[in-house]
Amino acid sequence: MAILEMKDVSFSYPDKTLALQHISIQIEPGECTVIGGASGSGKSTLLRMLKREVQPVGLVTGEILYDGIPLQHQDLSRMAQEVAMIFQDPENQIVMDEVWQELAFGLENLGYSSAVIRKRVAEIVSFFGLEELLHRKTYELSGGQKQMVNLAAVLLMQPKVLLLDEPTSQLDPIAAREFLQMVKRLNEELGMTVILVEHRLEDVFALGDRVILMDSGCIHYEGTVQQAIDQVWRAQDCLFLPYLPTISQLYLTVQKGSGMIPTSVKEGRQWLQREILDCFSKPQGLKESSTSSQEEAITTLLQLKNIDFRYQRDGKPILTSLNLSLYENDFFVVVGGNGAGKTTMLQVAAGLLKPLSGMVKLQDKKLAKIPPKERYQIIGYLAQNPKLYFVHDTVAAELQHVIQNHGLDISKYELDELISRLGIHHLLEKHPYDCSGGEQQKIALAGVLLGKPKILLIDEPTKGLDPISKKEFAEILNGLRQNGVSILMVTHDIEFAASYATRCAMLFNGEIISEDKPGPFFKGNFFYTTVLNRIFREHLPSAITYEEVLAQWHVPTS
């Protein structure tokens, strides 16, 4: 019997927006279900419907059953324990000051005796390997560690169903993978039922037994991973094509017909071994994309020279003799792990932090010598969290505020042009906090662009965006570049860097380790490279993106 069941459930918010329409699903015990879809497709709402304590307020029709009994007739204490939920933001779920208090929180709420709590904490801490963290302050932990603590905290209640609402969207790729591995372990070793809402499906396809794809409150596709990919491909559904793993797309382009569709690096490599190894015998695609010897003369716009930085006098050095130049018309992407100093580097480059030693030069002038107002107009800085910018109740007022505060001279026409270019026209009367993550990003970007900056510094813009918003954002950036804006961006997102950057660099331990064009840069990397490069490494070493693989690969594309 299904452990969770939705029977013809519809839901609308108090303002009459329909969030779910006639949803019927059955979740079998021990199953791992992945729900995908763009932001605003209703997938989070669906997940919240299954957890009574966090059900959104609004009108519900239809029936939701847990273990055969409607949710509203279930015992509260039982439901709190048996259905656990993890949310998107690792920080905001934490209630207490120290890790052990956080772990015990749920069981304390339910009035368990200290002996039981102690036993369960001991058990879960060793299962997760959290011994080192037990007495640490929660705010000192990294995002990945926080999310692990959150997971451990709900597991203490020994749940039967685990609901995960985009749990990895705020994590870096390594922490995200670690988290998903743990979820996989729980599913496989403890037989826990898992429902995972994600829009970064590339990593979770390997995890799920079943995939549900949603848009505007309806289920569009449902089935095993293979079935879902096949259906989407056959329908050539633009809504969901970007969600498919690149290797699956490549497979389906190249190899019409049936067979196992590869979804991971391993399966991709197996496919190559099995089927089409001979296509590579003629090494003609490997011209190393002829390192077009020193193109036109390069002008350096922004230069960081021997920068040292730390936050406290005795603190650990964040940047150590860092050198970096941003050229005119550049789209320079710096990748690097958590805590490598990426944000600090950008803030130093923007003149927001003063380096301990070393110099930042804007063209030929010292950055520190340029008056702040002018400095911040030439160099636009877009922080990771767009919420930091918003002061007013509507987006329109927000933009007006920027214009006034800077005393900018912007015509109505220019403003309208910018708004339509970013596609935020429909948001002007909304509260910035009511917009989705991608929309907030665009609103904040609009504010930065009002100053007509020549240089744009962007901190991790793709975090938490679904693939379609990501593409839109990339197109906006490319448009800006064509209008003469140079971009320096830091990110974890390797696929993004590979597809759009003109130059890439890696920041490690406070210094720039390597720097090159995306092709040669990623080619040499083992881990810090795209999925496709990892699959085609031996055969097409210089192919990084989907397009490049297709272009260099001489298979009869039917």
């Binding site: 509260l76 204490s77 209630v95 208090q101 200290s114 904490v121 705010y139 002061v391």
Partner: protein
Amino acid sequence: MNKGLNSLHPFTSFFYFIGFMILTMTLLHPIYLITGLIIMIGLNYCIDRGTQLRSYLPFYLFMGITIALVNPLFSHRGRMILFYFMDQPITGEAVVYGLTMMLSLLCVLVSFVAYNQVMTSGKFLFLFSKAFQKMGLLVMMAVRFVPLVKRRMNQIMVVQKTRGVNPFVGPLRKRLKDAVLILQIVVTWSLEEALQTSDSMKARGYGILEKRSSYHSYRFRKMDGVVLFLLIITGSICMTGSFLGYGVLAIYPKLKWDGFHGLQWLFYFSFILFTMVPILIEGRESMKWRS
């Protein structure tokens, strides 16, 4: 983490610190206080090699010396007039009294440095959460909130600088306006995020039961019993002494002291024993490691 004083039950360590503070505030005798101060500095050294203490010490000394100086300037009681300062007699008694007050204050302040490192908020809460259930949770959440808001404020200030909002530059009016603006963002943002925190609390069953239970990660061990017993015995001997008038130097109206006699030695040694307890524990620990 769990070594020496930290391995004791919160109640035992709390008892020690409270006892130490009471004793050094009541036993106003320079010999007692100097002994206590030296031992407390030693304890600080045992805990973190005195790193914390060193950063506070200049301020503490400043406060102490101020008291030591101010007393003879304002109090002219006593027989032994040392000299005249601006036509005011400076008496030996007032000087000694000022120094005693300084020592007493330093003892309390220095013991606070050690207290803060040993009695973490978690231990404090553990001791008092039984009596004040809801408040305990509230305090804990607030404790998490303070660094959080501080960090958010910093992030906002950095970003808002690019928009010309900076409460550290410009005319006063603009500064105030900017400060309010930043506060406004912090509040809006924090409220928004707090909604998620409340979801996470509800999801883990908060509010279902009236009475929450609590996870005790501290056990009262035999060692705690022994230590507590020792502290109570020596502490009460000292207090008895102080009621009987021993252990307090008679300064006013006339300073007189002719050394310790008989019972006084007992009281003094009890005081030493009381204050030394944590150092003995730390010492025992390091002996174990050496052998």
